[in-house]
Protein backbone atom coordinates (compact mmCIF):
# COMPACT_ATOMS: atom_id res chain seq x y z
CA UNK A 1 0.00 0.00 0.00
CA UNK A 2 2.84 2.38 0.80
CA UNK A 3 4.00 2.36 -2.83
CA UNK A 4 0.59 3.33 -4.17
CA UNK A 5 0.27 5.93 -1.41
CA UNK A 6 3.55 7.63 -2.24
CA UNK A 7 2.68 7.70 -5.95
CA UNK A 8 -0.70 9.28 -5.02
CA UNK A 9 -2.38 6.30 -6.65
CA UNK A 10 -4.98 5.75 -3.93
CA UNK A 11 -8.50 7.12 -3.95
CA UNK A 12 -9.29 9.80 -1.37
CA UNK A 13 -10.90 7.38 1.06
CA UNK A 14 -8.08 4.84 0.73
CA UNK A 15 -5.61 7.65 1.31
CA UNK A 16 -7.44 8.69 4.48
CA UNK A 17 -7.48 5.14 5.75
CA UNK A 18 -3.82 4.65 5.00
CA UNK A 19 -2.86 7.89 6.73
CA UNK A 20 -4.73 6.68 9.79
CA UNK A 21 -2.64 3.52 9.64
CA UNK A 22 0.58 5.49 9.12
CA UNK A 23 -0.02 7.51 12.26
CA UNK A 24 0.40 4.37 14.34
CA UNK A 25 2.92 2.49 12.20
CA UNK A 26 6.44 3.19 13.43
CA UNK A 27 8.03 0.73 11.03
CA UNK A 28 6.42 2.43 8.02
CA UNK A 29 8.19 5.73 8.64
CA UNK A 30 11.59 4.89 7.17
CA UNK A 31 10.25 3.28 4.02
CA UNK A 32 7.77 6.12 3.60
CA UNK A 33 10.49 8.76 3.86
CA UNK A 34 12.74 6.90 1.41
CA UNK A 35 9.93 6.41 -1.08
CA UNK A 36 8.88 10.05 -0.84
CA UNK A 37 12.45 11.08 -1.52
CA UNK A 38 12.57 8.67 -4.46
CA UNK A 39 9.31 10.02 -5.89
CA UNK A 40 10.58 13.57 -5.46
CA UNK A 41 13.55 12.66 -7.68
CA UNK A 42 11.10 11.56 -10.34
CA UNK A 43 9.41 14.92 -9.97
CA UNK A 44 12.63 16.92 -10.00
CA UNK A 45 13.67 15.21 -13.22
CA UNK A 46 10.72 16.90 -14.92
CA UNK A 47 12.22 20.32 -14.21
CA UNK A 48 11.42 23.03 -16.71
CA UNK A 49 11.83 26.78 -17.02
CA UNK A 50 9.07 28.83 -15.46
CA UNK A 51 7.82 32.04 -17.08
CA UNK A 52 8.97 35.10 -15.18
CA UNK A 53 5.45 36.52 -14.79
CA UNK A 54 4.44 33.49 -12.74
CA UNK A 55 6.56 34.75 -9.87
CA UNK A 56 4.66 38.03 -9.74
CA UNK A 57 1.36 36.17 -9.59
CA UNK A 58 2.62 33.93 -6.81
CA UNK A 59 4.01 36.81 -4.76
CA UNK A 60 0.77 38.73 -5.16
CA UNK A 61 -1.25 35.71 -4.08
CA UNK A 62 1.04 35.13 -1.12
CA UNK A 63 0.73 38.75 -0.02
CA UNK A 64 -3.02 38.16 0.35
CA UNK A 65 -2.68 34.75 2.02
CA UNK A 66 -2.25 34.70 5.79
CA UNK A 67 -0.06 31.96 7.14
CA UNK A 68 -1.59 29.15 9.15
CA UNK A 69 0.06 30.13 12.36
CA UNK A 70 1.74 33.50 12.34
CA UNK A 71 5.09 33.36 14.00
CA UNK A 72 4.28 36.21 16.36
CA UNK A 73 2.26 33.83 18.49
CA UNK A 74 5.12 31.50 19.20
CA UNK A 75 7.58 34.22 20.14
CA UNK A 76 8.46 34.31 23.79
CA UNK A 77 6.83 37.30 25.35
CA UNK A 78 7.62 38.97 28.59
CA UNK A 79 4.38 40.60 29.50
CA UNK A 80 0.75 39.72 29.33
CA UNK A 81 0.15 42.64 27.01
CA UNK A 82 2.69 41.40 24.54
CA UNK A 83 1.17 37.97 24.75
CA UNK A 84 -2.30 39.20 24.00
CA UNK A 85 -1.54 41.62 21.20
CA UNK A 86 -0.02 39.16 18.73
CA UNK A 87 -2.89 36.78 19.40
CA UNK A 88 -5.33 39.52 18.47
CA UNK A 89 -3.39 40.20 15.30
CA UNK A 90 -3.53 36.53 14.49
CA UNK A 91 -7.24 36.38 15.22
CA UNK A 92 -7.88 39.34 12.99
CA UNK A 93 -5.83 37.78 10.21
CA UNK A 94 -7.61 34.46 10.48
CA UNK A 95 -10.97 36.16 10.64
CA UNK A 96 -10.15 38.23 7.59
CA UNK A 97 -9.34 34.98 5.86
CA UNK A 98 -12.70 33.55 6.70
CA UNK A 99 -14.60 36.72 5.93
CA UNK A 100 -12.88 37.05 2.60
CA UNK A 101 -15.26 34.35 1.49
CA UNK A 102 -18.30 36.43 2.25
CA UNK A 103 -17.70 39.22 -0.21
CA UNK A 104 -21.38 39.50 -0.96
CA UNK A 105 -21.99 41.22 2.33
CA UNK A 106 -22.14 44.96 2.51
CA UNK A 107 -19.33 46.73 4.24
CA UNK A 108 -21.63 47.60 7.11
CA UNK A 109 -22.84 44.06 7.61
CA UNK A 110 -19.32 42.84 7.43
CA UNK A 111 -18.19 45.16 10.19
CA UNK A 112 -21.04 44.10 12.44
CA UNK A 113 -20.45 40.45 11.70
CA UNK A 114 -16.78 40.86 12.29
CA UNK A 115 -17.41 42.21 15.77
CA UNK A 116 -19.95 39.55 16.63
CA UNK A 117 -17.94 36.73 15.18
CA UNK A 118 -14.70 37.90 16.65
CA UNK A 119 -16.17 37.38 20.10
CA UNK A 120 -17.49 33.96 19.22
CA UNK A 121 -14.67 32.61 17.11
CA UNK A 122 -11.71 34.58 18.39
CA UNK A 123 -10.61 31.96 20.86
CA UNK A 124 -10.30 29.27 18.22
CA UNK A 125 -8.76 31.53 15.62
CA UNK A 126 -6.10 32.81 17.99
CA UNK A 127 -5.34 29.46 19.61
CA UNK A 128 -1.64 28.59 19.66
CA UNK A 129 -2.36 25.29 17.98
CA UNK A 130 -4.88 26.57 15.43
CA UNK A 131 -4.66 24.61 12.18
CA UNK A 132 -6.24 25.79 8.96
CA UNK A 133 -7.33 23.57 6.12
CA UNK A 134 -9.51 24.04 3.10
CA UNK A 135 -11.55 21.62 1.09
CA UNK A 136 -12.96 21.98 -2.39
CA UNK A 137 -16.21 20.17 -2.94
CA UNK A 138 -16.56 18.19 -6.14
CA UNK A 139 -20.01 19.63 -6.76
CA UNK A 140 -18.81 23.22 -6.23
CA UNK A 141 -18.19 25.34 -3.18
CA UNK A 142 -15.50 25.12 -0.57
CA UNK A 143 -14.99 24.75 3.12
CA UNK A 144 -12.33 26.19 5.33
CA UNK A 145 -11.79 24.81 8.79
CA UNK A 146 -9.74 26.37 11.56
CA UNK A 147 -9.45 23.92 14.44
CA UNK A 148 -7.81 23.91 17.83
CA UNK A 149 -7.18 20.53 19.37
CA UNK A 150 -6.46 22.10 22.75
CA UNK A 151 -9.81 23.88 22.84
CA UNK A 152 -11.69 21.03 21.18
CA UNK A 153 -13.33 23.59 18.94
CA UNK A 154 -13.29 24.56 15.30
CA UNK A 155 -14.62 27.32 13.10
CA UNK A 156 -15.95 26.19 9.75
CA UNK A 157 -16.47 28.64 6.89
CA UNK A 158 -18.62 27.46 4.03
CA UNK A 159 -18.67 29.29 0.75
CA UNK A 160 -20.47 28.97 -2.58
CA UNK A 161 -22.24 25.78 -1.60
CA UNK A 162 -24.64 24.86 -4.42
CA UNK A 163 -28.30 25.48 -3.65
CA UNK A 164 -30.12 22.27 -2.74
CA UNK A 165 -33.63 21.10 -3.64
CA UNK A 166 -36.01 22.54 -1.02
CA UNK A 167 -36.45 19.15 0.69
CA UNK A 168 -32.71 18.76 1.28
CA UNK A 169 -30.17 20.27 3.65
CA UNK A 170 -26.45 20.13 4.32
CA UNK A 171 -25.57 18.36 7.56
CA UNK A 172 -22.25 18.44 9.39
CA UNK A 173 -21.00 15.50 11.42
CA UNK A 174 -18.46 14.85 14.13
CA UNK A 175 -16.87 11.46 13.52
CA UNK A 176 -14.93 9.75 16.28
CA UNK A 177 -12.08 7.26 15.99
CA UNK A 178 -14.53 4.37 15.93
CA UNK A 179 -16.31 5.91 12.95
CA UNK A 180 -19.39 6.88 14.92
CA UNK A 181 -21.07 10.00 13.50
CA UNK A 182 -22.90 12.60 15.54
CA UNK A 183 -24.71 15.58 14.06
CA UNK A 184 -22.85 18.89 14.31
CA UNK A 185 -25.42 21.07 12.61
CA UNK A 186 -27.94 21.31 9.80
CA UNK A 187 -28.00 24.01 7.15
CA UNK A 188 -30.94 24.61 4.84
CA UNK A 189 -30.80 26.93 1.85
CA UNK A 190 -32.12 29.83 3.94
CA UNK A 191 -29.22 29.37 6.38
CA UNK A 192 -26.77 29.77 3.52
CA UNK A 193 -27.26 33.11 1.77
CA UNK A 194 -25.16 32.93 -1.40
CA UNK A 195 -24.18 29.46 -0.23
CA UNK A 196 -22.10 30.91 2.59
CA UNK A 197 -22.10 30.61 6.36
CA UNK A 198 -19.61 30.39 9.18
CA UNK A 199 -20.20 28.43 12.33
CA UNK A 200 -18.53 27.27 15.50
CA UNK A 201 -18.19 23.55 16.21
CA UNK A 202 -17.69 22.63 19.86
CA UNK A 203 -17.05 19.50 21.94
CA UNK A 204 -14.59 18.06 19.46
CA UNK A 205 -12.39 16.34 22.05
CA UNK A 206 -13.27 12.87 20.77
CA UNK A 207 -13.72 13.93 17.17
CA UNK A 208 -11.30 12.72 14.54
CA UNK A 209 -12.99 14.05 11.42
CA UNK A 210 -15.62 16.55 10.42
CA UNK A 211 -17.81 15.38 7.55
CA UNK A 212 -20.59 16.91 5.48
CA UNK A 213 -23.46 15.07 3.81
CA UNK A 214 -26.67 16.03 2.06
CA UNK A 215 -29.71 14.89 4.05
CA UNK A 216 -33.49 15.38 4.11
CA UNK A 217 -34.32 18.92 5.23
CA UNK A 218 -35.23 17.82 8.75
CA UNK A 219 -31.82 16.25 9.19
CA UNK A 220 -30.84 12.66 9.95
CA UNK A 221 -29.69 10.88 13.08
CA UNK A 222 -26.83 9.36 11.15
CA UNK A 223 -25.48 10.05 7.65
CA UNK A 224 -27.66 8.47 4.98
CA UNK A 225 -25.58 9.52 1.96
CA UNK A 226 -21.89 9.47 1.10
CA UNK A 227 -19.94 12.37 2.55
CA UNK A 228 -19.29 15.25 0.16
CA UNK A 229 -16.45 16.44 2.40
CA UNK A 230 -14.33 14.87 5.12
CA UNK A 231 -11.73 16.84 7.03
CA UNK A 232 -9.44 15.27 9.56
CA UNK A 233 -8.87 17.49 12.58
CA UNK A 234 -6.40 15.43 14.60
Amino acid sequence: MVGAYVLDALTDSERDDFETHLATCATCAVELAEFQETAARLGAAAETTAPAELKMKVLEAVARAPQDRPNVISMTSRSQFRRVLPAMVAAAAALALILSFTAYQSQHDQTQNLQAQQAEFGQVLSADDAQTQSYKLDGGGRLRLVSSENLGEAVIAMDQLPELPSNRAYQLWRIDAAGHAESAGLMRNQDLPQGAATSLLTDLQDTEKIAMTIEPESGSNAPTTDAIAIMRIV
Binding site: G3, D8, L10, E37, A44, E47, V58, A61, A65
Partner: protein
Protein backbone atom coordinates in the same frame (compact mmCIF):
# COMPACT_ATOMS: atom_id res chain seq x y z
CA UNK B 1 45.45 18.37 -22.97
CA UNK B 2 44.14 18.91 -19.45
CA UNK B 3 40.61 20.12 -19.25
CA UNK B 4 38.74 21.77 -16.47
CA UNK B 5 36.42 19.17 -15.05
CA UNK B 6 33.45 20.35 -13.02
CA UNK B 7 33.28 18.97 -9.53
CA UNK B 8 31.03 15.93 -9.53
CA UNK B 9 27.63 17.15 -8.57
CA UNK B 10 25.68 14.94 -6.23
CA UNK B 11 22.11 14.75 -7.48
CA UNK B 12 20.80 13.62 -4.13
CA UNK B 13 22.02 16.68 -2.30
CA UNK B 14 19.64 19.41 -1.30
CA UNK B 15 20.49 22.79 -2.82
CA UNK B 16 22.14 24.49 0.05
CA UNK B 17 19.91 26.33 2.43
CA UNK B 18 16.55 25.08 1.21
CA UNK B 19 15.60 23.69 4.62
CA UNK B 20 16.56 26.93 6.26
CA UNK B 21 14.71 28.98 3.64
CA UNK B 22 11.58 26.96 4.35
CA UNK B 23 11.93 27.47 8.09
CA UNK B 24 12.34 31.21 7.58
CA UNK B 25 9.32 31.14 5.28
CA UNK B 26 7.34 29.62 8.14
CA UNK B 27 8.34 32.68 10.16
CA UNK B 28 6.76 34.93 7.58
CA UNK B 29 9.96 36.07 5.85
CA UNK B 30 8.94 36.95 2.34
CA UNK B 31 12.52 37.25 1.10
CA UNK B 32 13.18 33.65 2.15
CA UNK B 33 10.02 32.56 0.37
CA UNK B 34 11.12 34.40 -2.75
CA UNK B 35 14.47 32.55 -2.80
CA UNK B 36 12.73 29.27 -2.10
CA UNK B 37 10.42 29.93 -5.03
CA UNK B 38 13.35 30.69 -7.34
CA UNK B 39 15.04 27.42 -6.48
CA UNK B 40 11.99 25.19 -6.71
CA UNK B 41 9.62 26.67 -9.27
CA UNK B 42 11.25 24.85 -12.19
CA UNK B 43 10.78 21.45 -10.56
CA UNK B 44 7.27 22.21 -9.31
CA UNK B 45 6.04 23.57 -12.63
CA UNK B 46 7.71 20.76 -14.57
CA UNK B 47 6.16 18.08 -12.41
CA UNK B 48 2.72 19.68 -12.33
CA UNK B 49 2.74 20.23 -16.08
CA UNK B 50 3.60 16.59 -16.61
CA UNK B 51 0.60 15.51 -14.60
CA UNK B 52 -2.05 18.06 -15.59
CA UNK B 53 -0.72 18.57 -19.15
CA UNK B 54 -2.51 21.82 -19.88
CA UNK B 55 0.18 24.54 -19.55
CA UNK B 56 -2.18 27.27 -18.29
CA UNK B 57 -3.75 24.92 -15.76
CA UNK B 58 -0.27 23.82 -14.68
CA UNK B 59 0.64 27.42 -13.88
CA UNK B 60 -2.52 27.84 -11.81
CA UNK B 61 -1.77 24.70 -9.86
CA UNK B 62 1.85 25.77 -9.38
CA UNK B 63 0.64 29.06 -7.98
CA UNK B 64 -1.66 27.21 -5.56
CA UNK B 65 1.19 24.95 -4.52
CA UNK B 66 3.41 27.89 -3.60
CA UNK B 67 0.61 29.61 -1.71
CA UNK B 68 0.14 26.35 0.19
CA UNK B 69 3.88 26.22 0.89
CA UNK B 70 3.73 29.75 2.24
CA UNK B 71 0.67 29.07 4.37
CA UNK B 72 1.66 25.72 5.80
CA UNK B 73 5.46 26.02 5.93
CA UNK B 74 5.22 25.58 9.70
CA UNK B 75 4.18 21.97 9.12
CA UNK B 76 7.47 21.10 7.47
CA UNK B 77 9.38 18.75 9.75
CA UNK B 78 13.07 18.48 8.80
CA UNK B 79 13.23 15.24 10.79
CA UNK B 80 10.94 13.61 8.25
CA UNK B 81 12.66 14.61 5.04
CA UNK B 82 14.11 17.37 2.93
CA UNK B 83 12.43 20.64 2.06
CA UNK B 84 12.51 19.90 -1.65
CA UNK B 85 10.84 16.54 -1.08
CA UNK B 86 8.19 18.15 1.08
CA UNK B 87 7.35 20.74 -1.57
CA UNK B 88 7.33 18.24 -4.44
CA UNK B 89 5.12 15.89 -2.42
CA UNK B 90 2.63 18.71 -1.93
CA UNK B 91 2.86 19.62 -5.61
CA UNK B 92 2.29 16.09 -6.82
CA UNK B 93 -0.72 15.51 -4.62
CA UNK B 94 -2.26 18.77 -5.68
CA UNK B 95 -1.66 18.10 -9.36
CA UNK B 96 -3.16 14.62 -9.07
CA UNK B 97 -6.19 15.91 -7.19
CA UNK B 98 -6.67 18.54 -9.87
CA UNK B 99 -6.40 16.19 -12.81
CA UNK B 100 -8.84 13.75 -11.21
CA UNK B 101 -11.25 16.54 -10.43
CA UNK B 102 -11.03 18.02 -13.93
CA UNK B 103 -11.38 14.70 -15.62
CA UNK B 104 -13.95 13.13 -13.32
CA UNK B 105 -16.56 13.34 -16.03
CA UNK B 106 -14.42 12.37 -18.96
CA UNK B 107 -13.09 9.05 -19.99
CA UNK B 108 -9.37 9.32 -19.52
CA UNK B 109 -8.73 5.95 -21.00
CA UNK B 110 -10.21 7.11 -24.26
CA UNK B 111 -8.56 10.49 -24.08
CA UNK B 112 -4.99 9.41 -23.86
CA UNK B 113 -3.39 6.94 -26.08
CA UNK B 114 -1.14 5.26 -23.61
CA UNK B 115 -0.56 2.19 -25.77
CA UNK B 116 3.03 1.15 -25.68
CA UNK B 117 3.36 2.84 -22.32
CA UNK B 118 4.05 6.55 -22.13
CA UNK B 119 7.47 5.93 -20.73
CA UNK B 120 9.44 8.43 -18.84
CA UNK B 121 11.73 9.25 -21.73
CA UNK B 122 8.89 9.39 -24.22
CA UNK B 123 6.65 11.83 -22.40
CA UNK B 124 9.43 14.21 -21.49
CA UNK B 125 8.95 16.92 -24.08
CA UNK B 126 11.88 18.95 -22.89
CA UNK B 127 14.68 16.48 -23.05
CA UNK B 128 17.58 17.76 -21.10
CA UNK B 129 20.98 16.38 -20.38
CA UNK B 130 20.84 17.19 -16.74
CA UNK B 131 22.26 14.68 -14.36
CA UNK B 132 19.05 14.26 -12.41
CA UNK B 133 17.15 13.47 -15.53
CA UNK B 134 19.80 11.04 -16.70
CA UNK B 135 19.81 9.28 -13.37
CA UNK B 136 16.05 8.85 -13.36
CA UNK B 137 16.11 7.61 -16.94
CA UNK B 138 18.85 5.13 -16.13
CA UNK B 139 17.11 3.89 -13.00
CA UNK B 140 13.75 3.61 -14.76
CA UNK B 141 15.54 1.27 -17.11
CA UNK B 142 16.25 -1.14 -14.27
CA UNK B 143 12.53 -1.76 -13.69
CA UNK B 144 10.47 -4.54 -15.21
CA UNK B 145 7.94 -3.41 -17.81
CA UNK B 146 5.04 -3.71 -15.42
CA UNK B 147 6.85 -1.88 -12.64
CA UNK B 148 7.84 0.94 -14.97
CA UNK B 149 4.40 1.29 -16.53
CA UNK B 150 2.75 1.26 -13.12
CA UNK B 151 5.07 3.96 -11.75
CA UNK B 152 4.77 6.04 -14.92
CA UNK B 153 0.99 5.92 -15.13
CA UNK B 154 0.53 6.68 -11.44
CA UNK B 155 3.22 9.27 -10.86
CA UNK B 156 3.35 11.13 -14.15
CA UNK B 157 -0.28 10.77 -15.19
CA UNK B 158 -2.18 10.64 -11.93
CA UNK B 159 -3.96 7.33 -12.35
CA UNK B 160 -5.09 5.35 -9.31
CA UNK B 161 -3.68 1.85 -8.95
CA UNK B 162 -7.11 0.46 -9.85
CA UNK B 163 -7.10 2.49 -13.08
CA UNK B 164 -3.56 1.38 -13.78
CA UNK B 165 -4.64 -2.23 -13.26
CA UNK B 166 -7.48 -1.77 -15.70
CA UNK B 167 -5.25 -0.07 -18.29
CA UNK B 168 -2.61 -2.77 -18.02
CA UNK B 169 -5.14 -5.57 -17.67
CA UNK B 170 -3.47 -6.66 -14.48
CA UNK B 171 -4.67 -7.60 -11.02
CA UNK B 172 -5.01 -4.51 -8.77
CA UNK B 173 -3.21 -6.24 -5.92
CA UNK B 174 -0.36 -7.11 -8.28
CA UNK B 175 -0.17 -3.50 -9.46
CA UNK B 176 0.11 -2.25 -5.89
CA UNK B 177 2.91 -4.69 -5.24
CA UNK B 178 4.68 -3.70 -8.45
CA UNK B 179 4.50 -0.04 -7.49
CA UNK B 180 6.24 -0.81 -4.24
CA UNK B 181 8.79 -3.09 -5.91
CA UNK B 182 9.43 -0.42 -8.52
CA UNK B 183 10.03 2.23 -5.87
CA UNK B 184 12.40 -0.10 -4.03
CA UNK B 185 14.45 -0.59 -7.20
CA UNK B 186 14.44 3.12 -7.97
CA UNK B 187 15.40 3.95 -4.39
CA UNK B 188 18.32 1.53 -4.47
CA UNK B 189 19.42 2.61 -7.93
CA UNK B 190 19.36 6.28 -6.89
CA UNK B 191 21.08 5.53 -3.61
CA UNK B 192 18.34 7.19 -1.56
CA UNK B 193 18.84 6.85 2.17
CA UNK B 194 17.33 8.75 5.00
CA UNK B 195 19.65 9.86 7.69
Amino acid sequence: MPQLVPLPSEPSSEPEGLDSLLRRTAHGEESAFSSLYDQLVGCVLGLVRRVVRDPARAEEVTQEVFVQVWQSANRFDPEKGMAKTWVLTLAHRRAVDMVRHDQASTNREARYDWAGGPDFDVVNEEVTTRLEYEQVRKCMGTLTDLQRQAVNLAYYQGYTYAEVASLLKANPATVKTRMRDGLIRLRDCMGVTTA
